[in-house]
Symmetry: C2
Subunit: 314 residues, 2 copies
């Protein structure tokens, strides 16, 4: 029975997802993965956040580089470059296997959630990882230079174009896996955790799906978000840059305000405990905890702090 | 202006194709590649004979193993196996780049011959390599256990099922690249060379295309085949096994008889010079030459011998 539903993007979110996976029995955790970053590249369906969650939870991730697989090699990319192929998106030799296998399953009769279940099971991952939708939801980045697909913005253009907004193509019509809806309406659910991922590009594409947002809003379990901003900076990625371009101070408080009334509680890093009164003034509970996760012990400690916080609000 | 059109399959044929490429100015050689082995695997278009010709002519082939690329690595395959993927067909990390790049080009608006031209040009190959057709022609192996796609027979089943026959699906309707037809009808053409490839699975799928066969039959240049059988054995692959199963003695003479009146001349290895009278009795010229190509010098010497033979018949 699911006791915790976690919404997660890639790197930062996956760290807390791993902490939760090491803390809860596998059947009690369901991780909902962002699919807004997904794209088709070289004929392959690439799902960066699902991939990162898969590698992190299987213990296959490269913790030094922060993305992709440990011990990765790049023979494919070198050979592709020699053929004049498209090389702006790095695909490691091992990583490629996941994209090829997923694409093969999708080209058959499997949904993305079925393909994900098959691959994660094979890699020994026990908690469920479910895509926010099996239907396509695509984050489109609105910039002064026009609209960009997310990976074009993020990887090809290295987040250079100033952002004016986002839209989540397909979200309105996207269906949600029945198991996610069942978990969110289960009386045994104790917490919905919004992992410390980029609010605009990792969490909002999940929340933009009407059935999912409505289920979270209607849920009796407390909804707790963990700030991806610590000391005015993003731990990883362009969150702070994007917030500045959208006219937001890059602060934990601004993230709490962004999620607003969806939240029952907000967790900031201890470095930001001075922001607690302002966050509480937004009408939610707030707590400080060590939110910079370097070691597995850090991840487990933060997961416990978040679950304790949720229990205190139940 | 094309002076020599060579019909080739993979490994054995590619050796003579390389010899021809080292002998003739690039604009004088056009290589027509078998596409009967081509298949779709893991969402990729794989063209084993085009790939082998490409690697051999670019000097990228693994001469020890006899197929694929030199210095190949297998990280992708290991990772795919760990995901429970289909691993019966070996795809090296570097090799994969060619399949992915070709598949990407075909998914756009390119034909197989355009994709082949782009890739071979990029790899510095100067003679033209043209697929026998841009339309699908697929060798189907008829066995006691039913029909098999060629790669399923050749790789997955390792040529175990006894062969009762072949058919070349799509050949009847397949179109031929206009440049191939133009070369075959050019008054300057001096030779059509059937490389020492498997007659049933490498050359017959080319000859099964009516427009191509008619152009060769109607051509004024001599048609010369080189025996893939030396001393009653195939130098590589299942040619001798297949001939036996089809009730043919695996001999150079039987190959000459198989091609029959299409040929003006037939080249056997010096080890088979005793077969020359019987081959001449079939109504064609015949000559012995060292046909076992180990070194590049062997390949060039055989290419010269074949071209001299053609010149003598013109």
């Amino acid at each position: 029975m699911t006791r915790c539903v976690a919404l997660s993007g890639g790197v930062g979110g996956a760290k807390l997802a791993l902490g939760l996976a090491r803390t809860l029995p596998p059947e009690e955790l369901l991780i909902v993965a962002n699919v807004g970053d997904d794209f088709e590249h070289l004929g392959l369906r690439i799902c960066p956040d699902l991939d990162t969650l898969t590698y992190v939870l299987a213990g296959l991730d490269d913790t030094e580089r922060g993305w992709g697989r440990a011990g990765e090699t790049w023979e494919f990319m070198s050979a592709l470059a020699a053929l004049g192929g498209e090389t702006w998106f790095n695909l490691g030799d091992k990583d490629l296997a996941l994209h090829v296998e997923r694409t093969r399953r999708l080209a058959g009769d499997q949904t993305l959630s079925q393909a994900t279940a098959a691959v994660t099971r094979r890699l020994g991952i026990r908690p469920r990882i479910v895509p926010a939708s099996d239907d396509p939801v695509r984050t489109i980045v609105e910039t002064g230079d026009g609209e960009l697909q997310f990976q074009h913005y993020f990887v090809r253009e290295r987040c250079r174009p100033p952002v004016t907004g986002f839209r989540y193509e397909g979200a309105e019509a996207a269906r949600v896996h029945p198991d996610v809806l069942a978990a969110l309406s289960s009386p045994g659910l104790g917490a919905i955790v919004i992992c410390p991922s980029n609010p605009y590009v990792s969490i909002d594409p999940i929340l933009a799906i009407p059935a999912l947002r409505a289920a979270i809003e209607g849920c009796t379990a407390p909804v707790i978000a963990v700030s991806p901003i610590v000391g005015g900076k993003a731990l990883k990625g362009p969150t702070a840059k994007i917030m500045g371009e959208l006219g937001q101070a890059p602060s934990a408080e601004a993230v709490a305000r962004h999620y607003g009334r969806l939240l029952d509680g907000f967790v900031v890093d201890e470095a930001d405990d001075s922001a607690l009164p302002a966050i509480r003034a937004l009408g939610m509970a707030a707590r400080a905890a060590p939110a910079v996760m370097r070691t597995e012990a850090d991840k487990i400690a933060l997961a416990r702090a978040v679950l304790d916080f949720a229990a205190s609000l139940a």
